[in-house]
Structure formats: structure tokens, C-alpha cells
Symmetry: C2
């Protein structure tokens, strides 16, 4: 897919300029090129195109910045002190391929570099500052990292559904909602459109986590590229463990349907061309 | 000192708003309030005052943002996979007081939150974007983290002086130079003034590292609040190990004198009021 290629090129060119440590660059590209599906960047780019924009280098830089943060979080999540995973996307995790210190520094770099990439993009100053603010809020202690801490603290006990939802909304939801919010900022959308995008983003985040929970139970290594049934083994609260598999499939389906409704509504009312995004959302479905 | 109090208040108020995880907030404040000397924020604020500015909340926010990044780097540097330190500033390190996963997330939060704090400051958009770009470049793979990787890779062999300088310039130098560069951006300094500030910043970074190397050899636990002679025990290349203690003292003194000359020159030629900054630089001296 053309977009994935260009996202990868954007990331590579960013990391080929003036590396202080070639060892670090190698480890950064190892994780960045590990065959991620680039779902966050693609959603951003497809929504921009839905609004009629021709994609520019800057749009790809914004797309790459969220992928840097996402990849950094995976590298740290896999560390022995965290989820202790040996494989990710079918290849050795950073700390297994290199060492723990390298994996820590890879994540740190990705978190710190993402904002420089955004700040340098050729977009209006106001837009860039909003993007930086939103990305920081989605990723840091008010978002992804805060949710990761809730998750760790919750591992020792059975969570209620509302607690599980709070974990997910922060740990996965906010960064997955970022591409939707970012697209609205880039096209300078009206408040009502921006609100619809934010809603679609947080629902997609929910769907993604339910899907991940289901796949942990049902998929094998080849399908998900990492050790399956880890949540089960850790007796971790998940949608299937709290609500059963059937109900989890139903929630996934209903949530994705709601996202599709929002985009169809944007098409009707706001002249948004929804077909690309709808296809991407459709692909998130699983057969129950 | 009044400035330290206000820096601390700025940090605290940032972390008291809407925490996702109270456990994470507690761990963040534990490291942030560990009695750091706040040298980077103070230098920024003193340079701003030297240019005649009355300090505002926004200036304190910029000052706090570099302290977040600095503290995050210390928390990660202390991890078992990195320098494996049990004490920092006389108190248990984050992973000893809490656990490794928490310490990883504390560092991650500090790196990610710093940019949101900058983006929200009440300063001109152009200035904020330059500050964000410079902070990212000073801290990420092109700066501090890149230097940390060079340092790790160099531990297994005896470095040449030029290699040691490259480690220091990146690992410590660039983030220490940030307050100087940031002050120039905030006052919108002419190019020649900005160049002088950048030079003073990188010299101060060098002085800081030489000083740290000397203290590792000469100081006891009470003076530096962490385990002394760790570099010595690790047979790590340092200024004293490569050049001897006497020569290291001389380099420190000469470097700080050069910084003072730059600021005296700014006073003469550019109406800069140098007395506060000169006092801070003076305090970095050690008696040989």
C-alpha cells in the first residue's frame, strides 16, 4: 500500500539524518520497521483525504509522529519489568534482540523525537501547537502512560468493567483517537465536526482494545506475531474474561458500527468522502 | 531561594490537575521533589532577568519543562539495566522506592508531558515552536539519549578523549545548553547574541560534566547524594581517568572562566545584567 510505503520513507529519512549513535539508529529502525500495520497514521491520512486534502510531506510527518510514540510504547511495554514479551510482530523484541538498556533508550528517543518532528512540519503554527498539545496529552501521564500505570496496578486484582474501561480509554484509547482529532485540527474543522471525529476516535480506541482482548484468547502466534493467551495466563481482566467471548464479539461489532455511522453522517452532512475510512474500520471486524 | 520555590510550585500544579493514575502522580512527584538543585531552570530564569525581563508564569513553565526532561533522564539512568543506582540526591531511586515498571513509566511521562507544558505556555507561537524543536533535539536521539547510548557502548573499552567529549557533549551538554538557547529565543535575541549564548551553554555543559567526573572521585556520599566512585569501580573513561585530577581541575576552571568572559562581554556590548548568572557559574567551581 502506497501510504505505508510513504510513512516508512518519512520515518527512515528522519532517522538517517545526523545520528549521534549509529547503534541507537539501528535499534530505532529495527523496531520502527518491524512490520507494524500503521493503523494510526493510515487513519489520519485517510480522514484528511476524506476531507478533500491532497496529502503533503507535512501530513506524513504528523502521521509518522504518532507512529513513533506508539512504537516507543510497545518497546517499553515489552520490557522484562513490564509485560516481559520476547516477540512482537513475529520478531524478537528490542531488549531480546539488543539489550534492556538499548530498549529503554529506543523508547525514550521515540517519545522525545516525535515532538521535534511535529514542530518542524510545514503547517500553520497554531495547528502545530495544537497537535503537539494533543499528542502530549494523549501519550503522557494524562493518557497512554497513565493508563499503563492503571493497568499495572490492576493486574493483582480482578477489575470491575468500569475500571477496565478506564484502563483501556487511557492506555489505548487516547492515542488511537489522536489521528481523528489531529485530522480535525489540520483541516480546521468546525466544532461539531471536531466533536464527531473525537467521538469516532474514542470508539475506535475501544473497539481496538476489545479486538485485542479477543485475539489474545482466539488467535495463535502466526496471526498476532506475539505470544497468545498471555492475558489469560496472567489472569488479567479483559473483555472476554469479564463478559465472555460472545458478548465481547457483540461489543466489538456494535462499536465499529457506531463509528461507521458517524462517518456516514459526516458524509451526508459535511461532504466528507467516507469510503476509504469505512473500509479500514470494516477490516477491524472479526467473525464471531 | 524564591526561584526554586516557584519552579517547584509550577511543577506541582502541573501534576495536581486531573491525574489518570494517583500512583503515577505520587511517583512523579517523588522524583521531581527529590531536592534537585534546579540548575537548568535557574540558569534560564537568571538569563531572562539579565536581559531585563520580569519573570512570568510562562517563563516558569519553560523552566519546568527542561527540569521534567532532566529528571526523567535521571530516573531512567538509575535503572538496573543502565547505571543501577540505589540512591539519587540522598534518597532511594524511583525503582528502589517503587518498582522498575513504575520508574520506566515515570521517565516516559516526564518526557511526554514536558512538550504539552511548553505548548500550553502563554508565549508567541513562533517562540514556543522553536523551544519545542530545540528541547526535542537536545533531549532525543540527536542529543541526550544519543549520548547516553554512546556512553553505554563505550563502557566496555577505554575511550579516547575525543570520544569522551562526544559522549559528554550529547549526554549532558545539549540539555544544559538548552536554557541558554531558550533564553535567547524568548528574548528574540539577535543572531550574534544567540551565538554567544549557545557557546556559553555548551561550555557550561562541558564544565558540568568535568565537575561531575571530579566529584565522583573526590566526594563522599553526603556531598553528592549518590554512591561515589561508581565510575572508578566501572573503569569508566572520565576526565580524571584520562587526564588526571590536576588537569581536570584546570579544565573545569578554564571552561568556567570562558563562560564568565562571554557573559561579561554580553554585559559590555549588549546591556546584559550579568551579576546573577556570574554568581551561579562561580558556584560551579571546585577548589583543586
Amino acid at each position: 500500500m502506497d501510504k505505508i510505503l510513504k510513512i516508512n520513507q518519512t520515518i527512515q529519512s528522519y532517522y538517517q539524518e545526523g545520528a549521534v549513535s549509529p547503534d541507537l539508529s539501528q535499534a530505532l529502525l529495527y523496531s520502527l520497521e518491524a512490520g507494524g500495520k500503521r493503523i494510526r497514521p493510515i487513519l489520519l491520512l485517510q480522514i484528511l483525504e476524506g476531507f478533500g486534502l491532497s496529502l503533503t510531506v507535512s501530513h506524513y510527518q504528523v502521521a509518522a509522529s504518532v507512529e513513533l510514540i506508539h512504537t516507543g510504547s510497545l518497546v517499553h511495554d515489552d520490557l522484562p519489568a513490564m509485560d516481559d514479551d520476547d516477540y512482537r510482530r513475529g520478531q524478537l523484541t528490542s531488549h531480546k534482540r539488543f539489550d534492556e538498556a538499548t530498549a529503554i533508550l529506543v523508547g525514550d528517543s521515540l517519545f522525545l523525537d516525535a515532538f521535534g518532528l511535529l514542530a518542524a512540519a510545514d503547517l500553520p503554527e497554531k495547528t502545530k501547537l495544537s497537535l503537539i498539545y494533543e499528542l502530549s496529552a494523549a501519550a503522557g501521564s494524562c493518557g497512554m502512560v497513565g493508563g499503563q500505570m492503571l493497568d499495572l496496578k490492576g493486574e493483582k486484582r480482578q477489575l470491575k468493567l468500569s475500571e477496565l474501561q478506564a484502563v483501556h480509554a487511557n492506555k489505548t484509547g487516547k492515542l488511537l483517537a489522536f489521528p481523528f482529532v489531529a485530522a480535525g485540527l489540520i483541516v480546521d474543522a468546525e466544532n461539531d465536526v471536531q466533536a464527531k471525529l473525537a467521538k469516532a476516535g474514542s470508539l475506535t480506541g475501544l473497539a481496538f482494545q476489545v479486538r485485542d482482548d479477543i485475539l489474545d484468547v482466539t488467535a495463535d502466534f502466526a496471526e498476532i506475531g506475539k505470544t497468545p493467551q498471555k492475558d489469560l495466563a496472567a489472569e488479567k481482566a479483559t473483555y472476554p474474561s469479564l463478559l465472555g467471548l460472545d458478548q465481547s464479539y457483540r461489543i466489538l461489532e456494535e462499536t465499529l458500527a457506531e463509528v461507521q455511522t458517524i462517518f456516514s453522517n459526516l458524509e451526508e452532512k459535511n461532504g466528507f468522502a467516507a469510503s476509504q475510512v469505512l473500509k479500514t474500520i470494516e477490516r477491524l471486524k472479526l467473525d464471531g
